[in-house]
C-alpha cells in the first residue's frame, strides 16, 4: 500500500540512472503505484512532507529531468490500452505504456501514430513530455497527437483536460517535462495503420549535399547521418511502399537497406539501443538548417575529428503550437551531435552549442544543453504563460527540483558547470 511505503522507517535506498549512465541519482524511494488513487496518495503525502516527486519514464533522456533525492515514481504498473475507436481514429492509453507496447496494441486494432522517432523504448508520456520527434516536414513531434487526458496535479487532485474545455492547458501539457502533473491517461488522435518502406543509401557529403532539399520534399520521412571521420553520409528514406524519391535519381549513392514493414516496426531503428551514447540536439528554423549544419560540419572537422567519430543526425519537423515545443510556431530542422557514452561529451557539446545559439536554436528538452530559464524564455513566446499554468497546477512546487527551478524559473547558463 502506498501509504505504508512512505512511512519514515521504511525508506529503501534505491539508485536510478538514465539509459546512457551519464545521469544518476539516489532517491529516497522509487515507487510504482498500480492505481491512480495510489499515485494521488503519493503526491499528497510528498507535498505534505515537503518532498519532491519526479516521474520517470524509460530514462531515455540525457538531462536531469528525473534526478531527485526525493521520490521517483515509475508508471511501470500503469500501462496498456484503455479504449479505442477505430472508426474515429482515437485511443486512450495509460501513460506508462511504452511506444513499442502502444505500437503493438494500436496496430492490432488498425490504428497508428502518424510518426515515431528512432527508438520506441520510451514511455508515451515521457516521449511526449520531452518533445520527442521523428522526421518529416509534414509531421509534428509525437505529442502533436495528444488531444487530452488525465493528470495528478501537485496537490494530488485529478485534472482532466482536452482541447474543447481547456485548449491552453492542452498546449502546455503536450511538452511539459512532468512539471504540470503526472499523466495517468492520455487520449490520442491517430490514423489507420500503414506500411512503410525503409531505404538507406550510403554516399558522402560532397555527392549528396545539393540533393538534400529535394530529398526532404520528396519523401515522407527523410533524415541523414553524417560521419565526421570519413565525411560519409547515410541517407534514410521512409515512404509508403513504392513511394518517395525514385531509386534511379539516387545514382550518387549506394543502396544498403531496403525493407518494408508495418509502421511500428519499420520507423524506429533499434540498432543503436545496445550502444550507449550521449547526445545534444538543437532545433533551428528549417530554412536556416542546412546552412547551420554546414557550419557545424566544418566545426567538427576543425576541432573534433580527433576525438569524435560518432555521427551527426539531421531531421525535419513540422511546426506546432505546444508552448514549450522546440517546433513552436516554426518549421524546424534538428541537428544532433552524438558522442560515445564511454568518452567525454561536454567539451565537444559546449564547443558546438554557441553555433546553434547563433541560429536561435532551441535545445531538445531531453538532451544535453547548458541553457537555463534566462536564455530559454527568449526562445519561447509563451514562456510565462506556461509557467503560470505550471504554478497553478503545482503551487507548492512538489514536482520541482533544483535543476527544474534553474531551467524554468530563475537560472542562467552562466551557473552551469559541465565538468
Amino acid at each position: 500500500m502506498a501509504q505504508d511505503i512512505l512511512d519514515e522507517d521504511d525508506h529503501e535506498e534505491a539508485g536510478w540512472a538514465n539509459w546512457s549512465g551519464s545521469i544518476s541519482c539516489d532517491p529516497d524511494e522509487i515507487l510504482e503505484p498500480e492505481t491512480e488513487s495510489e499515485l494521488q496518495d503519493i503526491v499528497r503525502r510528498c507535498a505534505e512532507e515537503g518532498r519532491t516527486v519526479r516521474v520517470a519514464g524509460a530514462g531515455h533522456s540525457w538531462t536531469p529531468v528525473v534526478e531527485t533525492d526525493g521520490v521517483i515514481v515509475s508508471l511501470a504498473n500503469m500501462t496498456g490500452l484503455i479504449d479505442h475507436d477505430a472508426d474515429a481514429g482515437t485511443a486512450t492509453l495509460y501513460a506508462g505504456t511504452t511506444l513499442e507496447e502502444a505500437g503493438t496494441e494500436l496496430h492490432t486494432r488498425g490504428l497508428a501514430f502518424p510518426n515515431l522517432g528512432d527508438v520506441s523504448m520510451q514511455t508515451v508520456a515521457g516521449a511526449f513530455g520531452t518533445g520527442t520527434h521523428g522526421t518529416g516536414p509534414e509531421f509534428g513531434n509525437l505529442s502533436s497527437v495528444l488531444t487530452g487526458g488525465r493528470l495528478v496535479t501537485g496537490t494530488g487532485e485529478i485534472r482532466e483536460f482536452n482541447a474543447e474545455d481547456d485548449p491552453d492547458l492542452l498546449r502546455a501539457a503536450k511538452v511539459s517535462l512532468g512539471t504540470l502533473g503526472i499523466f495517468t491517461e492520455i487520449e490520442l488522435d491517430l490514423q489507420d495503420t500503414y506500411k512503410v518502406q525503409r531505404r538507406e543509401y550510403c554516399t558522402n557529403w560532397r555527392e549528396c549535399k545539393d540533393h538534400i532539399p529535394t530529398l526532404i520534399e520528396e519523401n515522407r520521412n527523410f533524415d541523414f547521418y553524417w560521419y565526421p571521420r570519413s565525411d560519409e553520409v547515410k541517407l534514410r528514406l521512409l515512404n509508403g511502399p513504392g513511394g518517395g524519391t525514385d531509386h534511379a535519381d539516387l545514382e550518387y549513392a549506394t543502396l544498403v537497406k531496403n525493407q518494408t514493414g508495418w509502421w511500428q516496426e519499420a520507423i524506429p531503428a533499434h540498432d543503436d539501443i545496445g550502444r550507449a551514447f550521449d547526445e545534444m540536439e538543437y532545433a533551428v528554423a528549417r530554412e536556416d538548417g542546412l546552412e547551420c549544419f554546414e557550419k557545424a560540419r566544418e566545426r567538427v572537422r576543425e576541432n573534433w575529428r580527433k576525438d569524435v567519430g560518432w555521427r551527426m543526425l539531421v531531421r525535419t519537423i513540422a511546426a506546432d503550437d505546444a508552448m514549450l515545443s522546440t517546433e513552436y510556431d516554426r518549421e524546424a530542422m534538428s541537428i544532433s551531435c552524438i558522442q560515445s557514452a564511454e568518452l567525454e561529451h561536454w567539451p565537444y557539446f559546449t564547443d558546438m552549442e554557441p553555433l546553434f545559439r547563433e541560429y536561435d536554436g532551441r535545445p531538445h528538452w531531453g538532451k544535453k544543453h547548458t541553457l537555463r530559464a534566462a536564455e530559454l524564455e527568449e526562445l519561447y513566446p509563451e514562456w510565462e504563460h506556461f509557467q503560470e499554468i505550471r504554478r497553478d497546477l503545482d503551487p507548492e512546487g512538489v514536482f520541482m527540483t533544483d535543476y527544474l527551478e534553474a531551467l524554468l524559473e530563475d537560472g542562467s547558463s552562466d551557473e552551469v558547470v559541465t565538468t
Partner: protein, 127 residues
C-alpha cells in the same frame, strides 16, 4: 585453411590531417582480413595505448571465403580511437585468417601509403 587465429599489429597511428577529396583520400589506418575457410570469422580486436588501459573488444565479422578491410578510423563501439596518437592492436579470430595492415597518410599532397603484414602471434598453424 590458411592463416592463424591471433594477429598483432604493434604499429598503429591515424594521422589527424588529410589532403584531397574525402572520403577517398582521408588519412586512415586499415586492417585487411582474409578468411579462406568455409566458416564465418568472428573477430575481436583489442586496442592498446601508451598510457591508458586497453579498449575493446571491437567485434567484426568476415563471411566465409571473403575479405574485409576495416578502417580503424571508423571503429566506434565501444568508443572511437583517437587520431594523432600511437596505438597497437591484437586481433583474435574464431577461425584462421590472414591479416595485413595498411595506412594512407595524406597529410601532404604527395600521399604516402604503407602496408605490412601483421604478426601471426598464434601458435596454431593453418594448412
Amino acid at each position: 585453411m590458411t592463416g592463424k587465429q591471433t594477429w598483432a599489429i604493434p604499429e598503429g597511428y591515424i594521422p589527424e590531417e588529410s589532403t584531397g577529396p574525402e572520403p577517398e583520400m582521408t588519412s586512415h589506418e586499415t586492417i585487411c582480413v582474409l578468411n579462406t575457410t568455409d566458416e564465418k570469422a568472428t573477430l575481436e580486436i583489442t586496442i592498446y595505448f601508451p598510457d591508458q588501459d586497453p579498449v575493446g573488444p571491437y567485434e567484426k565479422t568476415v563471411p566465409p571465403q571473403r575479405t574485409r578491410h576495416f578502417r580503424f578510423n571508423e571503429f566506434d563501439d565501444p568508443e572511437e580511437i583517437p587520431t594523432g596518437e600511437p596505438f597497437a592492436s591484437v586481433l583474435e579470430s574464431t577461425v584462421p585468417v590472414v591479416c595485413q595492415h595498411t595506412r594512407l597518410d595524406s597529410r601532404q599532397a604527395e600521399n604516402a601509403l604503407l602496408s605490412t603484414m601483421a604478426y601471426p602471434a598464434a601458435s596454431e598453424s593453418g594448412e
